[in-house]
Subunit: 209 residues, 2 copies
DNA sequence: CAGGATCTGATACAACCGTATCACCAGTCT
DNA sequence: AGACTGGTGATACGGTTGTATCAGATCCTG
């Protein structure tokens, strides 16, 4: 059971290279050879650690998804103490919006995967497609809590509202990536809708640390 | 100035074939040869009418954009007489949502182009990127009118609200394409938010004719 | 009717793709 | 010590890509 090098580390090194290329040049530019060059290894090595390209693609996607989850956790944790539904919802949605370098990278890379999933739906099943649903119901739970405490009007349906907010955030992200508006402008749109959903209340602190 | 065949018709025939492939298999599957086969012509002919692949890609995108505009016009016209801001906004947004075969085709094809634009931003300038901005300000105008007639709360900023609604609709469209929810479910989310924006009033008639 | 523009077919090209193969080196285990 | 396995390099294979070239049709115009 002895290995000269750390497999996991090597796989990470290569997968990260793939993600870097997907971010800057799109997935269609990420050939095995280009990935190998970006990672600073030989083509053979890429083949050795990932028997097929699909395997590499899937592994990298899993890592990307993990990175996003870590980021969201960080933003939620920094959402203010004690955490209330509003700050949690605000933190989650803001963390998805491409406003800083990291989120822009993640969002752009996800977008690169998006069309791949559209033309190859089998990939969706393989990867945790259930994840966005979990996120949506988590948001709905927060909104329901806020509604019971009177911070949100009783007329709002929690599920529909959560779905709408998440979709809006994704749509805003797309427009930022497409260069149609700045990250700050997108955040302003989101904030306006959150102000309207919850009371016109408090200041909106953002970003962790 | 004599031509045996109608150039425009031939170009349309080929470009339509490209769009059909982009819809069903994604843009990366739309090679010159495949497009030629789909259009039922020889590879040489495709090259003859479109000197380069970029030219074909751009021409097809322009046609797609025109198709969407026609569809939106049709929906607006059928939005009810006399048209009021609410019905117009509802018509526009619903027409974008992938609920029927045509809109699903258009949305999916647009999505196929999306990542292409991300990795090759120069394409965006070439194409009418100003179009979504026009749409957004048109929506804002409708909302401002509804605000002045008292149908929309004065606290709503027309521009921010319009941007949010459009982004939400785009985001909902993405989730439908991704198989996360049905077109009807997306429409329910949108309707809920429109009900909340305008009064809880009238029935929501949709789809033309 | 000759001549030139318009249109179409067949085929070639160099580059790149994902994947596979063959050979070799360096450690570990029996 | 010797066989075996994990890790690595160089190179080749068949296929597909966008584009180019050479040839031959078909038709309008002078």
């Amino acid at each position: 059971m002895s290995t000269r090098v750390d497999h996991e580390q090597r796989r990470a090194q290569i997968a990260e290279a793939l993600l870097r290329i997907a971010d800057t040049q799109g997935l269609q530019a990420a050939s095995m050879r280009v990935v190998a060059a970006e990672a600073g290894v030989s083509l053979r090595l890429v083949q050795y650690y990932f028997h097929t390209k699909d395997e590499l693609l899937m592994d990298a996607l899993a890592r990307l998804s993990a990175q996003l989850q870590v980021r969201m956790q960080k933003w939620i944790a920094a959402a203010g103490s004690p955490p209330n539904p509003r700050s949690i919802v605000t933190a989650i949605l803001s963390s998805i919006l491409p406003t800083d370098a990291e989120s822009r990278r993640i969002t752009r890379t996800y977008a690169a995967y998006y069309t791949l999933v559209l033309s190859e739906p089998r990939l969706a099943e393989q990867h945790g497609t259930t994840y966005p649903d979990m996120l949506e119901s988590f948001l709905a739970k927060q909104i329901r809590a806020a509604r019971q405490s009177g911070d949100v009007s009783a007329e709002r349906d929690p599920e529909l509202t959560a779905a709408g907010l998440l979709a809006m955030t994704n749509g805003l992200g797309s427009s930022v990536l497409g260069g149609q508006r700045s990250g700050e402008a997108a955040l302003a749109v989101l904030s306006h809708h959150l102000d309207e959903l919850f009371g016109p209340a408090a200041a909106t602190d953002l970003s962790p640390r």
